[in-house]
């Protein structure tokens, strides 16, 4: 894992001042290379969860299919689009900040947070509807997986709000902005998106 941290030209430890974006090396890891340990590690952990889920799914495919029919594919799709769009704005925020357009970057960060909140609201609505319809964490095996996977993902999303907060703090302080920290936090936010894409296709789409 250390290899990743040492790969490529190391960006300055404390981050570079805003004007320096043009001197950015042609090939650089966005943000701290260290964040990629988290990205790849969490991807593996989720792969383990999802692999266990898929394995057990084939044992009770009838039950899983019947329960799956109670999920709304529209809500799932909406969730995915919300997070994909939030990722788009996060990328724009990073690019604006790199170009020195901090006001623009700030508004992109706020839009990202707004879309994240919309995802949160949509998720909670979906949970509420399911619980109202009589499906809880312990109802059956499918819903155990469903609530477990969406729940642990939501926890990652909540941490994502903290990272957006860090980005906004970085953009606000004029004298010691760190593009590196902005990019590190952005990488985390995209990870939340990435994990949801996997969860979405495995909970809502597979048959």
């Amino acid at each position: 894992m250390t290899d990743i941290a040492q790969a490529g030209p190391q960006p300055g430890a404390a981050g570079r001042p805003p004007g320096e974006s043009a001197e950015r090396p042609a090939r650089a890891v966005p943000g701290q290379p260290d964040m990629w340990v988290l990205v790849l590690f969490e991807a593996l952990v989720f792969t383990a969860y999802l692999a266990v889920y898929l394995f057990h799914r084939s044992a009770h495919s009838e039950l899983f299919l019947r329960s799956q029919a109670d999920l709304s594919p529209w809500l799932g799709t909406l969730d995915t689009l919300l997070l994909l769009t939030s990722s788009l704005f996060m990328l724009r925020c990073v690019q604006a900040s790199r170009a020195g357009a901090f006001r623009a970057a700030m508004s992109q960060a706020f839009i990202t947070a707004l879309l994240g909140t919309a995802f949160l609201a949509s998720k909670i609505t979906e949970w509420a509807l399911l619980v109202h319809g009589g499906h809880g964490f312990t109802s059956n095996e499918f819903f155990t997986y469903y609530f477990f996977l969406t729940g642990i993902h939501l926890l990652h999303l909540l941490i994502g709000f903290i990272t957006i907060g860090v980005i906004i703090c970085q953009l606000r302080r004029r004298e010691r902005r760190s593009q590196e920290i902005v990019e590190t936090c952005a990488t985390y936010w995209h990870t939340v998106d990435l994990l949801w894409v996997l969860i979405f296709s495995l909970l809502y789409v597979v048959r």
Partner: protein
């Protein structure tokens, strides 16, 4: 890096959204008037599409496209690893049960 066309993120987003919407059509293809039916084909396609999306997110949103070769290869390896684990556990489960 700055030479990148401004529309590139938007195109990425459009492709990812299109794949997401394609899922809805994929669902309909095997379901029998609202009754879900098991289908290895749909499952496999769903997993593969998820991997395509994951790689897109890595390359474009997370900007691995411009990262050193090591990280590019590592993320590609990860996509393959995730795919192998998911498909492997699915088909192993099918074979056993």
């Amino acid at each position: 890096m700055n030479a990148r066309p401004k529309s590139r993120p938007l195109i990425t987003w459009l492709i990812l959204s299109a794949i997401t919407l394609a899922y809805l059509a994929l669902d309909r293809s095997v379901d029998n008037h609202g009754t879900y039916r098991a289908s290895s084909v749909v499952t496999t396609i769903a997993i593969l599409l998820a991997l395509v999306k994951a790689r897109y997110i890595f390359r474009e949103f997370m900007q691995v496209r411009n990262a050193p070769a090591l990280l590019r290869r590592l993320t590609d390896l990860w996509v393959l690893l995730i795919g192998a684990a998911l498909l492997g556990s699915y088909f192993t489960g099918l074979a056993i049960h």
